[in-house]
Amino acid sequence: MPEIRNFTLNFGPVHPAAHGVLRLVLEMDGEVIQRADPHIGLLHRGTEKLAESKPYNQSIGYMDRLDYVSMMCNEHGYVLALEKMLNIEAPIRAQYIRVMFDEITRILNHLLWIGAHALDVGAMTMFLYAFREREDLMDVYEAVSGARLHATYYRPGGVYRDLPDVMPQYEKSRWNSDADIKRLNANRGGTVLDFLDDFTARFLGYVDEYETLLTDNRIWKQRLVDVGIVSPERALQLGLTGAMLRGSGVEWDLRRKQPYEVYDKLDFDIPVGVNGDSYDRYLVRIEEMRQSNKIIKQCVDWLGKNPGPVILDDYKVAPPPRASMKSDMEALIHHFKLSTEGYCLPEGEAYAAVEHPKGEFGCYIVSDGANKPYRLKIRAPGFAHMSAMDELTKGHMLADVVTIIGTMDIVFGEVDR
């Protein structure tokens, strides 16, 4: 009788379903996975070490590039840690703006996730649907920060600037006729908030469209139901957070349990799964999009009624308004000192975490009193999720690996840092 041995299969690092640069060494018995050994680090840029050589504010931009599909949430975690150590609090309007953008980011993240996940599993159309809505939200990003992805919008003590009064409009071009322009600009006549208001009214219908395509889809269910089951006990042991934890039935959401900013004033629900499989996690994330939509709507209403400052009036940490820099010597000096040397944090250490779309994103800062962090540790949810890969895939078929990578919502920018 011939000897049958396991064989090793290399999955990635450039595989379309590997969500970036994942090299997965799979030990297979036929088509069944015996052991999965993810090799990560192909996108390691040493963000934490780079941050040690820069004044605090210069690292905000690096945070965008960690999980590059939920940019502002990363910034939020970092900025919260800074604020904790500086013992400052952003003005209330800035807190609402941050919460609104966190939820916009959550929808952006989940849209990309569902598009990519469905594409991996075989549902091509979802990707096109998801990107249609992402476009609107990225326009909001652009309107407020000038960048569609890497916003660098949050600052310790608030946000860089207030929401603009007008929503940018499409201009006539070779590709768009007058009729197209009119249609595209139909909801862009007012402010950014009006545009978002219109978006929140439309978005629930879009989520229903996604559900029509997927939730009862036979193929979708065959690929997701009972794949990658995690029990609540194992989920805690494996360090899963966010939708990965809630999918297993653990009701844990930092926005509720350890509220930051104004989450305790807002009305929203935390969806929780039952079986802990990929399908439940899909349902959890779909519902999270609806809840995020609800939060955005509440923020839009509040922000429309309550003007006010969006950054702290403390020139030791936040630069003075540009206009005063032109006429006031004191303001000029403050601006100069802040943009060259930056500010010093008191000696000590602090950890601040936010409920990132993927899980708990936290920043641990050790300061020795200097204008640069002594040590910055970024706790990325994807890193812990990726380490559970072996346990989740064991005993599944090769095709299920793709489902499990998809359901973990892996982005290598944050796994590798």
Partner: protein, 239 residues
Amino acid sequence: MGNSTSPMIEALQAEISSSLEDKVQNSTIAFNELTVEVSAENLVDVAMQLRDTHGFDQLIDLCAVDYLSYGESEWDADVSGFSRGVKNKDDLFNFDAKPDKDASSDIEAGRRYAVVIHLLSVKNNKRLRLKIFCDDNDMPMMDSVHSVWNVANWFEREAFDLFGIIFVNHPDLRRILTDYGFVGHPFRKDFPLIGQVEMRYDEALKRVVYEPVSIEPRVLVPRVIRASEGTRDVTEADD
């Protein structure tokens, strides 16, 4: 945010000091967060106890810190501004000419490497920071907590890769983030930011070659330590 210490944190501190007794070397509350320092030999015991009796069911993060150059600044800044004493410092603008420091000559034994563990209790909604200093500065070692919280596996691999901390009883202590065949531990403070080697494709050899880095290290913004707001003296009248 309110950084005043909440009574809940104080209660947790009391609860932990009374149950861990002399295993706690030090416990402090700062920024409304509790940090408990334990020794490396007690770590696994303490971890078990924290998980089973105090409900810390999740390890959120594990990372290492290298305290080699803690508190060193590249530019003296006394309370009234930068030092202008150019004369008595020959190399004011050469930030890279650091005194050749023997890895552990300047720093107290057992105080160079620390491992910091962030714990979360989903059950009780509490957080705790554990800090463990490694006894040996030249070969930092400590026990793995992988058996207590399985998630520690990769976090410990990361700390090993970046700081060279050896976790005893770890099931699979390999490098994780750096390249295959990488030499050194890049997050140590004596590892230069620009690295040791650079890589290029050699047309003659028809393969990738590694060479010592050719770019000059430079400091764009010097590291400055200033007295914090509360202790700042008002000496602006001097100018």
